[in-house]
């Protein structure tokens, strides 16, 4: 058995093993990740900020809201309860923390013993202004008024009814919503709206969680509309957005994959007019994509849906090698399949090495998702290369065809354009135009990495979310205040200190509200102050107060208020304040949730002088990270291009290497310039596209550089086919609904077109070695059968 046959069989065994591995994963359910944030790096940010961001993110992403509205309160409640049962039945929902009654009882048990130290802000201001009389009158009004709201507390140790006042002003994440017979409800637009707030027991970015929950919601919603005519439902939550995003991405992947594959098939059939090249190239594509997927699963244990999307497009790239091989059959002097392969081996090997350098550069970006894409691409391309080199000559047993004349003529046009004398002026004009585009475009380039614009949110879900925010008044963003102190008491005092600042900011419209732990549990110092205010302003009025109640002679039973202040630890352990649990990360490390943050700059400025308090905007931080990595990617691009010069310098000499690198480098310089002139801000995903443009553009350059005069037409057929397919696959990404992917696609569309058009310039490198090259043997022809490194003969 020859070494080549042995290698072919070994590769077959490897491919079979990878196929079995993939089948095993497919049987267990492909572990797909759909969280865009999972693509981001775990930078070594300040640990408290990161921990706080994670905590807020975890709470927000797992939360889901459903509102059910109807003109009939009874119908609204019945429909809401059906929806609640249906969602609970999925087994994906955390058990509800507390019902109305349980919450009230626990709140009473928590606060009542400490009531002397608990004052609403309004009562505190009144007492501070010496207006205790006002509070006494209010208590009398409640005691004698209709219904007797809270009147019983007059007799049970809260004669001025301060505790109901404190409870009434406790902040709520959704200020317009309150309990109504066990269900959170509100009235709006002549309808009763019941709000279901649920927390997912699992991560919302798992596909099975999304599908199960969305199916349960949709099925129940349809049934409710039939049973309760007029019922209106809205939903929001990361799980619904993620499901819609994943569905769109999967549909796009299927569509783009089908178009890419369909385009490839049609193109190959049109050019080669037989099935052999098509089947071989499909085989190379499938082996490449399969190997990429298997490598990702083996190394990461999962694969991100975006990696899959990029990977699907890789089908359009891995056929480069196969097409280059297949196109050699158009050379009338071509020999046996093995000889034809050997004749293009220098180009294939050089382009593989250079392309791998390009992809490996991606792994330097510490972005989890990019590493996945890099691994997918490196293994995919290497597998496609191995398939072409080891299997194609053996499989290529059919008759050879002659290329249609128009194909060869069309393919040769770029070469002619860059070399024929009659195009000299036009070339010069284009060169000047290119330089002008580069100068003007790069001079006015704008960047934009706002992550909020990178995600395609389903418009219907956005409308539903806005409807829920408008109804509930709870527009909680991901922004928050991080309060860091040595202990809880200091943290609570800091929050009390910033309350007036936040009130001013609210008055200015900088934010709609804030939820701070100190709102639920005042600092011990504040509780002591409150107690002194009550003792100083209200206790002297007690006798007169009882007299006004007509109880002068009566002896009311007094339940003494606990002189020990209520602590945050007591409150969090009580289970009475579910909201508080998410606001206290550790002793002294608290979160203040902000609602409706409109002017982060004002908030940041107003709090800049307050020690231990900072505004954290995770979305802005992620956008900043994207910007940072865009810069890093562009730098890596330069490094990659420089590294690629090394193998080329060995092969073509230093000047020749520059000629070979000129087309791809021009493409990656002109692409952002053109985007800039088109008014498109350059972002991280454009930069990512440029990495691929460089890698693929180098392929084209090398193929042109390696092409002899007689082979130009067949070489350009291969490049034309490869470029067309790459544009079919990557260019189609420009039509994606996801702005991030669309950016990537548009970068590829422009870059690959430029790389293709400019590729023949690389053939000029031969001027350096023109004489020696002409004397060099034609690989696989004069020296067929020899297996030495082809480029060793050049020198």
């Amino acid at each position: 058995m020859t070494p080549r046959r042995l290698a072919s069989l070994a590769w077959l065994a490897t491919v079979i093993a990878a196929a079995i591995f993939l089948a095993w994963h497919a049987h267990r359910g492909l572990p797909l990740d759909t969280d865009l944030m999972a693509l981001l790096p775990r930078e070594s940010r300040e640990s408290a900020v990161q921990k706080a961001g994670d905590a807020v993110s975890r709470t927000l992403t797992r939360r889901m809201l459903v509102v059910v509205g109807h003109t009939s309160r009874t119908e609204a409640r019945a429909a809401a309860l059906s929806m609640s049962d249906s969602l609970d039945a999925t087994g994906l929902i955390e058990p509800e923390a507390a019902s109305d009654a349980q919450e009230m009882r626990k709140l009473g048990q928590l606060y009542f013993p400490h009531r002397a130290g608990l004052l609403s802000e309004e009562d505190r201001v009144l007492l501070g202004a010496g207006r205790g009389e006002d509070l006494a009158k209010r208590a009398l009004g409640q005691a004698f008024g209709v219904g007797g709201a809270g009147a019983g507390l007059v007799a049970r140790g809260d004669p001025f009814l301060l505790l109901p006042s404190f409870l009434m002003q406790l902040p709520s994440p959704m200020p317009r919503v309150a309990w109504d017979d066990g269900l959170l409800s509100l009235s709006e637009g002549g309808k009763t709206w019941v709000l279901l707030v649920r927390s997912l027991a699992r991560e919302p970015f798992a596909l099975d969680v999304q599908e199960k929950l969305t199916a349960a919601y949709s099925k129940t919603a349809a049934a409710l509309k039939a049973v309760h005519p007029g019922v209106e439902l809205h939903r929001t939550g990361a799980v619904f957005f993620a499901e819609a995003g994943a569905r769109t991405a999967m549909a796009e992947a299927a569509t783009l994959g089908a178009l890419s594959l369909g385009g490839t098939i049609l193109l190959i059939l049109a050019v080669f007019r037989r099935l052999g090249p098509l089947l071989r190239n499909v085989l190379a594509g499938l082996v490449g994509a399969g190997a990429g997927l298997a490598a990702c699963l083996a190394l990461f244990g999962e694969v991100h849906v975006l990696t899959l999307l990029f990977g699907t497009s890789l089908l359009g790239v891995v056929v480069d090698y196969g097409l280059h091989y297949s196109s050699t059959e158009f050379d009338p002097d071509a020999g046996t399949p093995s000889e034809r392969l050997l004749s293009i081996m220098p180009g294939l090997q050089l382009s593989l090495v250079a392309t791998l350098i390009g992809y490996v550069a991606l792994t330097f970006a510490p972005l989890h998702g990019l590493r996945q894409i890099a691994v997918f691409s490196v293994f995919g391309l290497a597998a496609a290369f191995a398939t072409v080199v080891l299997w194609f000559p053996t499989l290529d047993r059919g008759r050879r065809t002659r290329a249609a004349g128009w194909v060869l003529r069309a393919a040769r046009q770029p070469f002619d354009f860059w070399q024929a004398g009659r195009w000299h002026l036009l070339r010069l004009g284009l060169l000047c135009a290119g330089a002008a585009v580069a100068l003007v475009g790069l001079a006015r380039i704008e960047t934009g990495d706002d992550v909020r614009r990178m995600q395609a949110l389903a418009p219907d879900l956005v409308r539903e979310q806005e409807a829920i925010f408008a109804l509930t008044g709870g527009k909680a963003g991901s922004e928050f205040l991080l309060v860091e102190s040595a202990d809880d008491e200091t943290a609570l005092r800091r929050q009390e200190a910033i309350r007036p600042i936040l009130a001013d900011l609210r008055a200015q419209g900088a934010l709609a509200g804030a939820l701070l732990p100190a709102d639920f549990v005042p600092s011990a110092e504040r509780q002591r102050e409150n107690r002194l205010l009550v003792e100083g302003e209200l206790n002297p009025r007690l006798a007169a107060h009882y007299a006004a109640l007509g109880l002068g002679g009566a002896r009311p039973v007094q339940v003494p208020s606990d002189p020990v202040p209520l602590t945050l630890d007591q409150a969090t352990r009580s289970g009475a304040l579910d909201a508080l649990r998410n606001l206290v990360l550790a002793p002294g490390v608290h979160i203040g949730l902000l609602q409706g943050l409109a002017r982060p700059d004002l908030v940041r400025g107003a709090l800049s002088h307050v020690p231990g308090v900072q505004l954290v905007e995770p979305t802005s931080e992620i956008s900043a990270l994207f910007a940072k990595y865009r810069e890093r990617t562009v730098a890596l691009l330069g490094v990659s291009a420089a590294l690629m010069l090394i193998p080329f310098a060995f092969r073509y000499g230093s000047v020749g290497a520059i000629w070979v690198m000129l087309p791809p480098v021009s493409a990656i310089v002109l692409t952002p310039a053109i985007l800039s002139l088109a008014g498109v801000p350059f972002n991280f995903f454009h930069a990512m596209a440029l990495v691929l443009v460089l890698a693929i553009g180098v392929d084209y350059s090398v193929f042109c550089a390696e092409s002899k005069d007689a082979d130009r037409s067949t070489t350009m057929v291969a490049i034309l086919l490869a470029a067309t397919m790459t544009l079919l696959s990557f260019g189609l990404l420009a039509s994606s609904k996801a702005p991030a992917i669309s950016s990537f696609g548009s970068g590829m569309l422009i870059g690959i077109t430029l790389a293709f058009v400019l590729a023949p310039l690389a053939s000029r490198r031969r001027t350096t070695f023109a004489l020696r090259w002409r004397k060099a043997p034609k690989y696989g022809r004069e020296e067929h059968g020899k297996r030495s490194l082809p480029w060793a003969n050049v020198q």
Binding site: L140, F144, A149, P175, G550, L551, A554
Partner: protein, 212 residues
């Protein structure tokens, strides 16, 4: 919130009871219109509020005005002036002419149920009350008694244990027994059903609650 719920539920039941004439034609069970649009029910009340822990009750006296489709004005005059006004938009309370409490119905969704009960009661529909209370009726058209007890026996969120309403042509006596052991005893007198429009003073008070 429990205190507010107590207030609103008590108020709803009070209004329902208040608007229930006792004639055979308009008894609650008959489901006929009790208070027609444009009618105003006026009268006086005396209230004894028994609070657990106090030996003596809090005694209040005053007047009330119930305007069909408008709302309720409840004025305590002794021992001092407390005015409570309720409209579909919410509830306002004043002590000595100074506003001490205001509750918007959008802030307190239970108000929706309250209005449903109130408006139902005004036209003799008891379905909303019946969804919360068991209603036992005894007596005849000349002298009757209705006892409301919560359907959910051990619901800690229900502030009312039982309500007993007695009357002849109109409601004369209401006892509200709360779950916490407190109770209110209301006696009504000098009641009159009028068709004259509310006074400007009454309209101004109703407008206060509508502005919430």
């Amino acid at each position: 919130m429990t205190a507010i719920r107590t207030l609103l539920l008590s108020l709803a039941i009070f209004c329902a009871a208040l608007s229930t004439p006792s004639s055979a034609e308009t008894r609650p069970s008959g489901g006929q219109t009790a208070l027609k649009d444009g009618q105003v029910l006026r009268g006086h009340f005396e209230q004894d509020r028994f609070l657990k822990g106090f030996d003596a009750p809090l005694k209040t006296g005053g007047s009330f005005t119930l305007v069909a489709g408008g709302g309720l004005i409840w004025r305590a005059e002794t021992p001092f002036a407390v005015t409570t006004v309720m409209s579909p938009a919410g509830l306002v309370q004043e002590v000595d002419g100074k506003k001490t409490m205001s509750l918007s119905s959008t802030r307190i969704p239970f108000m929706t149920k309250l209005y449903s009960m109130l408006s139902g009661a005004l036209v003799g529909h008891w379905s909303d009350l019946e969804s919360t209370f068991k209603i036992a009726r005894t007596g005849d058209a000349k002298k009757w008694e209705m006892r409301f007890t919560p359907i959910a026996g051990n619901d800690p969120a229900m502030p009312v244990e039982a309500i007993v309403v007695r009357g002849r042509r109109l409601v004369e006596d209401v006892v509200v027994m709360r779950s916490d052991g407190d109770r209110d005893h209301l006696r009504f007198s000098s009641q009159s059903l009028e068709t004259a429009a509310p006074t400007s003073d009454e309209l101004a008070l109703l407008a206060l609650a509508k502005q919430l």
